[in-house]
Symmetry: C2
Subunit: 230 residues, 2 copies
């Protein structure tokens, strides 16, 4: 049985926890809901400064920090186990190992990032420090890792504006490579909505904004709650 | 000091090891050169069958299996340490942790894949099984992980045809989501060469070829050995 969009929409609508709060699974005592979008010892001074700057902007309510978890609240729903056990691809052991791609690394080795959104401006900003396990050309971030953090950022921008949606197109121009362990700033903006289509653009720049590392456009399609995903 | 293209080109031209052979670093006894593009216990029956099929095609020399490593032969070069120690972003500890993004997961959890190339046809085929740490929407592979394996495949196709090159553009249409732990087939083809520009396209299909999951076009630029990367 394939997962229905209706179930997914219920999942995405699940309540979020306050910053730093750790939830526990309904089925075990394993910690599943740590919020990773807060500083840890691997964060560079640059990343901490940007975090602090934007936490101040959150004080008047114009910006909001977005929590981020390794596992989705999906696992809190009773239909989860039934769904995956019916899958022809996933074994029960694999199911229990499922993790969000961008949060599946140990602290500092992969994607360290925090996103902030401004719902009135329809913007999401992401501060990203790419760790040593994201290497492409020696010394630089892999193009796929750049595509991943762009996809996550534009996806968040689309979801904030239009609810549950999936990437239909992602078009990236890679202009300047990003050195491993440096910090870059992603700015994404909802440009247009046409029916179920959401058009979101994104830039990836150095902290001082002088270097444009990448530019992207994307198209998202809002999910139809009455249709299955595959 | 930033790494020069000339050094990178030397790196990419470094000798490759035969399948399964493990090399040892010049600087320590740590194993750095295991070939990951061979079956391991996490591979599904589907992935093993495809591997066996293409290993047979390699017997007459028309196809070649491409080895794949966690760390690049760069670390065999004397200039490596000097380069990274001069970097303002990477500490020595992080330098020693640098790993190729697509090979930075434990067996079965991330990107399990093998690529085969046909240099006469200018094609690279990749068989890919996406593990549970690549999750995006619950139960499915993250769009960024799909972009990553596409980038790796078209990049290999460009490099086989034109030498060292970097992604300048990647344009992906995501048509049908890919269930976690399933196996898909990527076929990439060099379409055109214009000076230093290489145009490569790619499709991602189910094993039976009935489902087109994604389609991509890409542009690569051959590196100029006399210019630095940034």
């Amino acid at each position: 049985m394939l997962r229905s969009c209706a179930a997914l929409l219920r999942t995405l609508g699940a309540p979020r926890g306050p910053p730093g709060v750790v939830w526990r699974s309904f089925s075990s005592e394993k910690v599943i809901h740590k919020d990773f979008a807060v500083p840890n010892p691997s964060w560079s001074k640059d990343l901490r400064l940007l975090f602090d700057q934007f936490m101040k902007k959150c004080e008047d309510g114009s910006w909001e920090r977005l929590p981020s978890h390794r596992q989705t609240p999906l696992q809190k729903f009773e239909d989860f186990k039934t769904h995956f056990l019916d899958s022809k691809h996933m074994k029960e052991e694999q199911m229990s190992q499922a993790q969000n791609f961008t949060r599946s690394f140990e602290d500092g080795l992969g994607f360290e990032y925090v996103m902030f959104c401004n719902d009135i401006e329809k913007m999401v900003v992401c501060f990203f420090q790419g760790g040593p396990h994201l290497q492409g050309v020696p010394g630089f971030i892999h193009g796929g890792a750049i595509a991943t953090i762009i996809d996550a950022t534009v996806g968040m921008c689309a979801n904030r504006a239009g609810g549950a949606a999936m990437t239909a197109n992602l078009n990236i121009n890679f202009k300047r490579p990003i050195p491993l362990c440096s910090v870059v700033v992603l700015k994404s903006q909802l440009d247009k909505v046409e029916g179920r289509k959401l058009f979101v653009s994104c830039s990836v720049r150095s902290i001082d904004e002088k270097t444009l590392h990448s530019e992207a456009t994307s198209l998202f399609i809002k999910l139809d709650p009455n249709k299955r995903l595959t």
